[in-house]
């Protein structure tokens, strides 16, 4: 296998492993489909050009998230627009989910989208990207205890809001 073929295979592996989750992460932080796709494209374009600098494939996910966050910051250093595409994403009517479950997920999405970014981003890094509290602290450049507080408050706020909606099943006094 030539070096170039190996390089392509390595890159394609990263696209397959993390492309979808990075899109979800981007979509939840920027709220717009076109911009999310663009952010992921830019992230992978930069990754492709700098792939030879990635010595540890185990660090790839963290590396890609860092590139994406920088690209997002660069995009919005001029202006922070309010996007609402994520509100419009509907839970598909698949046969395995009851209407009440779909409603609950839809309401939860709306509440996630309304969470302050300081609570939303650690939650995304944990649940969507599978990062540990230490990794999140490193990425956001805050202490681990601050991350834990933000994660707790994010969940607490979401739970309180879905409880107000009256569709939370048996979850009552969890936090």
């Amino acid at each position: 296998m030539s070096n170039e073929t190996e390089r392509q295979a390595r890159f394609n592996g990263l696209a397959e492993a993390y492309g979808a989750d990075l899109y979800r992460y981007a979509m939840w932080i920027c709220g717009n489909d076109a911009l999310a796709k663009d952010l992921v494209q830019e992230t992978y374009l930069r990754a492709w050009k700098a792939l030879d600098k990635l010595n540890d494939i185990g660090a790839a996910k963290s590396w890609l998230i860092t590139i994406l966050r920088r690209e997002y910051a660069r995009t919005f250093e001029r202006k922070v627009p309010k996007f609402t595409d994520v509100d419009a994403i509907e839970v598909p009517e698949d046969t395995e989910m009851e209407p009440d479950d779909r409603l609950e997920i839809q309401l939860l999405r709306n509440h996630i989208n309304k969470l302050p970014i300081k609570y939303r981003e650690p939650l995304l890094l944990q649940v969507v990207m599978g990062n540990s509290c230490e990794e999140i602290a490193h990425k956001l450049d805050i202490s681990k205890s601050a991350v834990m507080t933000q994660l707790f408050r994010a969940r607490k706020q979401l739970l309180e809001r879905v409880q107000k909606d009256g569709v939370t099943g048996n979850v009552h006094e969890l936090f």
Binding site: R7, Q8, F11, N12, A15, E16, G19, A20, Y23, R24, M27, W28, N32, D33, A34, L35, K37, D38, V40, Q41, Y44, L45, W48, K49, T75, E77, R78, K79, P81, K82, F83, D85, V86, I89, V91, P92, E104, I105, L108, R109, I112, L123, L124, V127, V128, S132, C133, M148, T149, L151, F152, R155, K156, L158, T168, G169, N170, V171, L174, F175
Partner: protein
Amino acid sequence: MSMNFSEFKRLLGTDPGNRDPAFLRARESSEEFIRAAAESDRFERRLEQALDIPVPDDLLSSLKAITATPVKSSPPWRNYAIAASLLMAVAVAGLTWRMNTMSFDSVEQYVVYHYNHDGEKVLISSEGQTADDVDAMLARFDVEMAPDLSRMVSLIKYCPTPEGKGAHIVLNTPEGPITVIYMPGTPVTDGEMMDFDGLQAQLVSLAGGSAAIIGSRQQQVGQFYDLVQSAFISVPAKA
């Protein structure tokens, strides 16, 4: 050492997937702990389902297509532009513009390729839509769109252009949908008309870039020249 209920709930709220043995033992230590763990598990499943938004079908293929991009950056477009003006004088074509894997001899060729690539598809997906993110989308180019034009926009998306990135816009006009491709940093021959595949296009020179207005011959795209020409307003970038 066993974990008290308060600590346990705190950990459920911060790191429910924690694999610490004390936490795992606590999950099954009493009715109270078991019930809280079950409620947390249910909430986490819902959270994961809510965050699991659909990913565009073409995402992976578009990412894999990046491997066709040269690793070393191409010479800047400006150098090509200077060379082009010299070469055109002696009627020699030979410039290369790169858009991902494609090469183009001219902006006209790019416009034709780009429209044939997804112009019709974008028109179809714009039907019945109203774009409310025009300013936000254009902000990255340090450009705003005048309300006369922005209120007609039914769809806007980013697209590759000769200079890197621009916007693919659909206008909802009384004559039907019209496509405008905004090309930052790309010079054109202002007002040049093009005919291709039963369509008509007009190139418009703008401050800091250009646009191509594309529609059917019946739509007479030239009538939108003034509107487009005056609608893209440069705004100073914030420091």
